[in-house]
Symmetry: C2
Amino acid sequence: MTRETSALDLSRWIRDGDCGAIAQAFQGRHPADAARLLAELTPQEVARYVELAGPSESLTVFEFVPFELQKESIQHLSRDARVGIISLMSPDDRVDLVEELDEAFRDRLLSRLMQAEKQNILNLMTYPEDSAGAHMTTDYAMLRSGATIRDALDQLRLQAPKKETIYYVYVVDQGRHLIGFLSLRDLIMAPSDKLVGEVMRRKVISVHVHEDIEDVAKEMTHYDFLAMPVVDGEERLVGIITYDDIFDVMEEEATEDMYRLANLDTEEKISSPLHRSVKLRAPWLMINICTAILVAYSVHMFSSTIEQFVALAALMPIVAMLGGNAGNQSLTVVVRALALGEITDQSNWRVMLKELGVGASNGLICGLVIGGVSFLWYGNLWLALILWIAMIGNLLLAGFCGALVPITLRKLKLDPALGSSIFVTTATDVGGFIIFLGLATLLLRFLVG
Amino acid sequence: MTRETSALDLSRWIRDGDCGAIAQAFQGRHPADAARLLAELTPQEVARYVELAGPSESLTVFEFVPFELQKESIQHLSRDARVGIISLMSPDDRVDLVEELDEAFRDRLLSRLMQAEKQNILNLMTYPEDSAGAHMTTDYAMLRSGATIRDALDQLRLQAPKKETIYYVYVVDQGRHLIGFLSLRDLIMAPSDKLVGEVMRRKVISVHVHEDIEDVAKEMTHYDFLAMPVVDGEERLVGIITYDDIFDVMEEEATEDMYRLANLDTEEKISSPLHRSVKLRAPWLMINICTAILVAYSVHMFSSTIEQFVALAALMPIVAMLGGNAGNQSLTVVVRALALGEITDQSNWRVMLKELGVGASNGLICGLVIGGVSFLWYGNLWLALILWIAMIGNLLLAGFCGALVPITLRKLKLDPALGSSIFVTTATDVGGFIIFLGLATLLLRFLVG
């Protein structure tokens, strides 16, 4: 493909049915790059490309096309092309696709597939969304322990074209139980007349098919594995998860945590249409309205104090803002550490105590600065003192909630990031206003005196 | 290793110099798991383990020990053990370690290494921290195009023990220029009497040694590469980056973005001691104090309005809170999309317009709810109207700043997340208070009438 080939050219060739030009343009180009061009076309055009090039030819490119576009294009394919490409796709990718189709369409599609493929899809569809089973592929390379290394290499050559990876090879017994593991490096280094069973590593680390994919990602990054075998309840090998699946999982998990800390629905995408973004964000804002009313009420309680000393109205947002910021700092450090598995059940207390300590220290420092500024501004020593104490109190509260909320959510087996920032901000707002305005009410005669 | 081996056992064996017990405990256990046990010991104990087991024996485990502990242990090693283990470590890991040592210690260490290793370390140290060069390893597998496949496999068997991966093999000419690429899968599938040059893929995707590692991660996840070749300015192969490096990079980049959105220094860790966390967070809180004073001043300007109608003091935090939350939603969606490369220079405007649209819509909805609640509370229609308009105005501002700030930071070649949340929150606080209190001042006679 010359560097200048554009999505427009591609669109024209597809319209004209110019297979030759397309083949020439895609030849020697990485399928991921060809897919980048296709990603700019309409679902109808992508479908027509698949028809023109044929399922087996277009497959490598189609697998790199963004998921949403795959989903829409598949509906525009002729029946044969649709069945063709679904049969050829790798099991983990196609099950994601089939799951998203509407039920009637899915049933029609499944009824046309070969029995083995249909069964494979139906099996994979039974695993919950965030499980190892939902992310694994069933196209793994497999050997028997009785084979010689020479035979094993020959078998791998046969398996290679259809397998997701042949760099990690798993050894199973008659009952498909996982009994060993070999890397292709081990295989080509081993004397060719040895048996697989003599060379293989017997301690195989595997994950259960229902294990949370986030934990699988942690395991794979811990061991630096290229692939992880997945077994069922009877230790039978049922699939593998490869490093590129983990790339995707890590990206998704990071997005999820960031979105949850910002009170966003994890369904939202930058490409979501306006009305969908509004709909996804509004519920969180509604929750925020409830907490904001709580905050307003906490100020309302001190209306007469504010009426008598209106400077309080100007200064009170400072206490709340700093508390919110400090609380968010604690929260983010703790949420991230929980996601990376850096906090054990034993270290919960240490984390809480540390965040309290950081809150107290920074409250002391920031309180001094703000107290000082307010003294220069209003020349009122009592006001400065109240601000100082309120800052210490509110930053202590910030550290406390910032650590306690996510740790508690995890204890309850909930996502530590879910809704936690609304909770922490409400605590530091309500807390900040009550401490500050409460102190001011108690000491009002000194303040106005 | 029996499952019950604890860090305490290990500590005792190390103290007693019981090599046999340690070897037995570690045997058959994955080095990453052995390292997990070592991670609970003191640097002195880890150093003593390296001395007992010998550099070559302890290396595989030592490379999995957390970086901070590696750094401290190395200082407790005898001269010979230190030189031994540094020579054996993989180039990318050891350069990270050597860079962190204090200069005098580093010079003493370097002077004792073999010339080739010393040069390798010094070369790698020249690359900036976030570049491909700083993350690559120089232990890659390499072939010449004139070799037959049979010879190539023999060469790979010789190279295998010392190379980070042999699954992707690079073909270079006399001048070390990268001219082709083969996977081990290609190699074992090819007829053994063919030449490497006939079988290799000639279009090789590579990155430049100074390219930002975040962009390299994007490329590798785009192509699902197991390894990426790194070339210098003259297209000479100088190293490779492997998938496990990308695991680490993705984790770090996600942490960085989250930390920056929460105004945290990226140096901070959950394990940072109290005084260090205080020191790292205080500067951000100081910046926040400055913006908070700005916010306080914007309220102060309307003191007389608040004195005349004190309900405003209770209601004004609602406008600010909702604006802050909505701004943070926009900001997070845009920052994440920028990090994932989902926003192009052409789509900047579309993103801005959409966020404005979401702000206007949610402002309309939330404003109606809040206006309604305030009417029920205070029975004042003008107050409800002012709240409604202020909400629309502030959520428009939130969407505008939430998209504009990170997009502008990127245009200025800065990190889109850096300091952006302080900026957006200040805008929605100051903006919210000024719109709400300003409207109230203009319409004061209706409000109190």
